[in-house]
Amino acid sequence: MIELIDVHKSFGEQHVLRGMSFTLEQGQTLVVLGRSGTGKSVTLKHVVGLLQPDSGQVIVNGVDVASADAEGLREIRRQVAYLFQTGALVNWLSVRDNVALPLVERRDMPSEEIRERVDESLGSLDMLQHADKMPANISGGMRKRAALARVLVQEPDAILYDEPTAGLDPIMGRTVGRLIQEVQSSGERAAIVVTHDMDLAFQVGTEIALHYEGQLVERAPPEVFEQSSHPVIREFLRTRERPGKASP
């Protein structure tokens, strides 16, 4: 479904992706671990066409993202949804309007149907009672849920989660993890979860990989990944054993 082939990307002198290659099939949830600033989010942005690779190919459902025209890109973005770290809700729209936004912008859906789907999506995440609030008046966890509702209302084939638990307390983080599990439970959607939250990684991932020096390394199911001898992975795993003593 999603395939990256030898993707290279640089920002000035900084060579972020150095031959990044991986494939992701439907039903898989790939968790990408890595230290801050290594280019995890950059990888995700290549998938939805927000960034263009300097070289290599990004293919989504058989379409090369870099060479897709506007309509092709729109179709790719309809199939692959992106959950941003901050939620990225539009500040001057209510939660309900934010969730309805992608459907309203399609301009081919009756308003009744939009309303039904929005209520369904918000209800599935227990956000219906906050539907008419403005993003600035709800908590960070609720914003994440509202953003997830906006993603789900599009009924995508794949979801890209960018640091879904960043800035949340562990309890809320676990709740978000549970939500992702629920979303992925149908087995029909593919997902990439970028995080450095080890608990979340082991909670939701069908496979875990390390983003290291511009490439994905040590990709494996959680139980195998746990046995890896890669020094960075060992460091990450130690944070899971002794939370609060992670190296920066």
Binding site: L50, R78, T86, V90, N91, P102
Partner: protein, 270 residues
Amino acid sequence: MGSLTETLERQGHALRETIDHAGFAVGIFVRAVRRLPADAFHRRRFILDQLYVCGISPLPVVAIVGLFTGMILALQVGIELADLGQAESISNMIGVILFREMGPFMTAMILTASVGSAMAAEIGTMAVSEEIDALECLSIDPVSFLVMPRVVALCIMTPLLSFVGCVLGCIGGGIVAKTQLSVQPSIYVRNLLTSLESSPQQFGPLPEEIFTGLVKSVVFGLLVSTISCAAGLKAEGGAIGVGRAVRTAVVRCFLMLIIIGYYISWAFFR
């Protein structure tokens, strides 16, 4: 030698950035205009919101500045004219100066400071917090969603505000003319109307002075909205980036208002 190379490199980089940003601004303006027929009705709610933000909110400031500008003009020019025994011609001067040049320019300056900077800050904040990327991921064109309503709103509201400012400026000038220069209000109003009616050219029902002032205002509205939105969309680097975007927007707006204002004056009054 090394420092010279570095300096040149820095200047070259700055020039390239300036050209890049100018091209980006031209690009989003063209895109906004192209999206207008298809999206204007669909985005009517946003356009109405922006009409309020751009037109009603700055109205008190425009009114006060317009009133006092007219009073200052009357005082400064009136003293010179009174020396020549021509104090009664003050309204001719005030009408022409305000409607042709000062009104549109003054209004555009106020809108740059109050509305343009807010646009740059708002869109800049969206840019640095990935909201623009989020919109693109939702297949929403940020130019159509964010820029077009603002351009339309400022194009409509700038001439209206400018006209209000000019009228209040004329009233302010009339107050000073009566109290300081002993010019009768009836004579002041008659001279003002005569000076506007006796324009060498008429554009439909409008005298040349008012028409060119309105044309200028529309162009100034386009400039302020486009430059401010472009600066916001180009923002990067968190809060500092937003601050830089606001400063860039205001400075570039001022520069372009002066330069384009000159070209419009040249086109009409040469």
